[in-house]
């Protein structure tokens, strides 16, 4: 009996519906998988049969971690660990017994007998047995090998053993759900306004899930805001890299701009004036980086600065479009995603960001655009924006947790 090769079978969803562009989407997805696995060893990533195959030429030390990495790449619907080997029917049966033995060992808590069925796909039409015959034969062999532990159930099985008979043989059974969506890099680039809150990381995640490649900007106002608040944003960025890949984070020193705004703008309009200035600076950064769109975590009506009028007043400050993927979402739904992607526990740490330091007791909820223009009158907006653009620290965070100053 010869050995087998450990491989991973990656299923694609939406991408397979693409027409002439499909190759581009698949190439990007394969690139993203390669990049994600770089620190785990050498892997060969290829496509075939509407799926992507990840092969390792060496024994994999931590298959769970590999599965997790592949599963977190947008565009992946599911991923299964699989065995690949050469040989005929005898080899297939022998490998199936070993494969199922391993499976039973990994799931010791499933009540006995474990119910299963076999499904076969026969790509090699010259193979002497037909698909149903192969399935039936494998079923028999497995029942013989594990008489007390297995029972066939084609309707509600605990696991399905998939056998694929092509130029080489493949066995796989359990799969892990992927993030779905589209591969990052196929949907253009966007600059995410990242605060320490719950919403903005989720907004970034959602845009990345549609294939957008992100950079992020954070407005830090030392000494009004604490080093802990800054660290929190770095930690959030690091969690996001699990989905977005490498993430470039621009940290703007906002304190003096905030002081200038506070000195000039009536208290009830201060938050909006601050947000307008942040959008102007963000648009400046995006322009310099050839990024055409901003992303923010606003949800309609959530706080005073997120009423329709307030959002429109903010958008009036810059010509660059602002995407708001959470605009129609309830907080509960956002929180659910934040929990699932692992940003929630960081987001709820109690460190203030610069939006909450100077919050007014009665902020204006229905501002008119001319009110803001009037409030900003006398401020040299262009020079304040340039001041922000001149005080930027840029960090690159990678999925490995490595962080580098640009």
């Amino acid at each position: 009996m010869t050995g087998h090769q450990d491989i991973y079978l990656v299923r694609l969803g939406e991408i397979t519906l693409k027409g002439l562009n499909r190759g581009r989407f698949e190439s990007r997805l394969m690139d993203n998988i390669r990049r994600r696995l770089r620190t785990y060893g050498t892997f060969r990533v290829s496509r075939g049969d509407s799926r992507v195959w990840v092969e390792s030429d060496h024994p994999v030390e931590n298959p769970e971690a590999i599965m997790e990495q592949i599963g977190s790449v947008f565009g992946v619907v599911s991923v299964s660990p699989a065995w690949r080997f050469d040989g005929g029917q005898n080899e297939l049966e022998a490998q199936a017994i070993r494969f199922v033995a391993g499976l039973l060992e990994r799931h010791p808590n499933t009540p006995l007998p474990v119910r299963f069925k076999v499904e076969t796909r026969r790509g090699d039409k010259r193979y002497p047995l037909q698909s149903p015959q192969i399935s039936a034969r494998l079923g028999e062999v497995l029942l013989e090998a594990f008489p007390d532990r297995l029972a066939v159930d084609v309707h509600q099985p605990n696991f399905v053993l998939y056998a694929e008979v092509r130029s080489r043989m493949t066995l796989h059974a359990d799969s892990r759900r992927g993030q779905r969506g589209l591969p990052v890099g196929t949907g253009g680039r966007g600059l995410l306004l990242l605060s320490g809150g719950i919403d903005s990381p989720v907004a970034g995640y959602l845009m990345a899930s549609r294939g957008m490649q992100l950079e992020a900007v954070y407005f830090h106002a030392h000494p009004f805001t604490s080093p802990e608040a800054r660290q929190k944003v770095l930690d959030l960025a690091e969690v996001l890299t699990a989905y977005t890949g490498r993430l470039i984070l621009h940290i703007v020193d906002f304190a003096d701009i905030q002081i200038a705004l506070r000195d000039h703008v009536p208290e009830e309009l201060l938050t909006l004036a601050m947000r307008r200035m942040m959008l102007r600076i963000a648009a400046g950064i995006a322009g310099n980086r050839m990024i055409p769109v901003l992303i923010s975590g606003d949800s309609l009506g959530q706080v005073a600065s997120q009423t329709l009028e307030a959002l429109l007043v903010c958008d009036a400050a810059t010509a660059m479009p602002v995407f708001r993927p959470l605009i129609g979402m309830d907080k509960d739904a956002t929180v659910e995603i934040a929990r699932r992607i692992g940003t929630f526990d960081i987001s709820i740490l109690p460190y203030e960001d610069c939006c909450t330091v100077f919050v007014a007791r009665h902020p204006k909820t229905h501002p008119r655009p001319d009110e803001l223009d009037e409030a900003e009158h006398g401020l040299d907006l262009a020079s304040l924006r340039d001041q922000g653009l001149a005080r930027i620290e840029t960090l690159t965070t990678r999925p490995t947790g490595a962080r580098r100053k640009e």
């Binding site: 000039h264 703008v265 203030e352």
Partner: protein, 376 residues
């Protein structure tokens, strides 16, 4: 920490001493160092070595005193001006059914003696109070407190949390008539990680930490001879320069305030006139204390916001220092307060520099500072 204290610490660690309870040579060496250190400390405190129990710090000593008398549904008298070490313990005891009487502060931010006298008319199990307030430096009228106890309820146990008092007040609390007195090593120049409870008699709280029966069963856990030796050395040094230290602290306080006046920065001192000068809780209008503290931190100046022991829980706004509120200061002023502490190594130049950095930060950051072009 003074260099001599550090040297004692490293010398003892380097001497190869071991667990003082071990019978071998290295253990006996540790036991001797420990015994000498406790005796030297006792000499300095004006008590006997057996009266001293070493702990991991003042928090443990205070906890021990508070928990140790709460075996039954106790009635405990304390003040509204306590450090979190006892305040939190009392909050828990109250939930468990003890009656906690928190005496209000009088006009000088010290305990209202009339209220204390009234409370003493009913039997109580413990009177526990902080001797020098860690936020304001206010000194409790402890002699009057003991007199009242002696007159109205002579059998009542008194515990003084003296963490801020040792090494600052030139008094011998150990002979004051208080039953239990707790203190902290790092407040007198010893390393962090050691504190003590001095008891007047054999009457002691129930042990908080049990195990190998160390320190006569009062406090279990292997004793650290090196820390004990460093503590004894630190106390010896501090005691010798106590008057100097206090005079210097007074001068440093005056320097800071004069320099602030010269620079035109308005300030409010959140301390009564009798406060020890080493702790300076001071507020600047229109500038939050934590913001100022962060600005000064960037300049290499370490100041406190509230009490350092509690400020990690105060990262967000909305929670302001309960002791300063209890002392009667408005919420706004309390949120604007920082605490400047001076030690034996602080200098006049450092104080001037601190005042200048405060002035610079206040002019830039405060919304009450005069700045060009500000809205009216």
């Amino acid at each position: 920490m003074p260099a001599e204290v550090l040297r004692v610490l490293t010398d003892v660690y380097a001497s190869g001493c071991a667990n003082p309870a071990s019978g071998h040579q290295a253990g006996r060496l540790a036991a001797r160092i420990l015994k000498d250190s406790k005796e030297s400390l006792a000499l300095g405190f004006g008590c006997k070595a057996e009266q001293i129990t070493l702990t991991s710090g003042a928090t443990e000593a205070v906890n021990w005193a508070v928990w140790g008398c709460a075996q039954r549904p106790a009635r405990i008298l304390t003040t509204a001006l306590e450090h979190a070490a006892s305040r939190m313990a009392f909050d828990i005891l109250e939930k468990r059914g003890c009656q906690i009487v928190r005496l209000p502060p009088g006009p000088s931010q010290t305990v209202d003696l009339q209220a204390l006298a009234d409370a003493l008319r009913q039997p109580a199990d413990l009177l526990s109070m902080i001797l020098v307030n860690n936020e304001t430096g206010a000194v409790q009228p402890w002699r009057q407190v003991i007199e009242l106890r002696d007159r109205l309820q002579p059998r009542l146990t008194i515990h003084f949390d003296a963490a801020q008092a040792f090494g600052r007040l030139n008094e011998s609390f150990t002979t004051s008539g208080a039953d239990w007195i707790s203190g902290s090593g790092h407040k007198i120049g010893a390393p962090v990680g050691i504190g003590w409870l001095v008891s007047r008699s054999h009457r002691l709280p129930q042990p908080l930490i049990v195990g190998g029966g160390q320190q006569g069963g009062r406090r279990a856990g292997t004793e650290n001879a090196a820390l004990a030796a460093a503590l004894a050395k630190a106390w010896e040094l501090r005691k010798a320069c106590l008057t100097d230290h206090n005079d210097r602290a007074l001068r440093l306080k005056a320097t800071l305030l004069e320099e602030l006046d010269r620079l035109g920065v308005p300030w409010t001192l959140l301390a009564p006139p009798n406060a020890v000068p080493h702790i300076l809780t001071i507020a600047f209008p229109g500038l939050r204390g934590e913001t100022l503290a962060r600005a000064l931190d960037s300049d290499g100046i370490c100041v406190g916001v509230g009490s350092a022991c509690g400020s990690s829980h105060r990262a967000s706004s909305g929670t302001v220092n309960p002791v300063l509120l209890a002392a009667g200061w408005p919420r706004q002023t309390v949120s604007e307060a920082i605490r400047v502490s001076s030690g034996p190594a602080s200098t006049t130049d450092e104080m001037k520099f601190t005042a200048q950095q405060i002035a610079a930060a206040w002019r830039r950051l405060s919304d009450r500072a005069p700045r060009q072009g500000r809205k009216p």
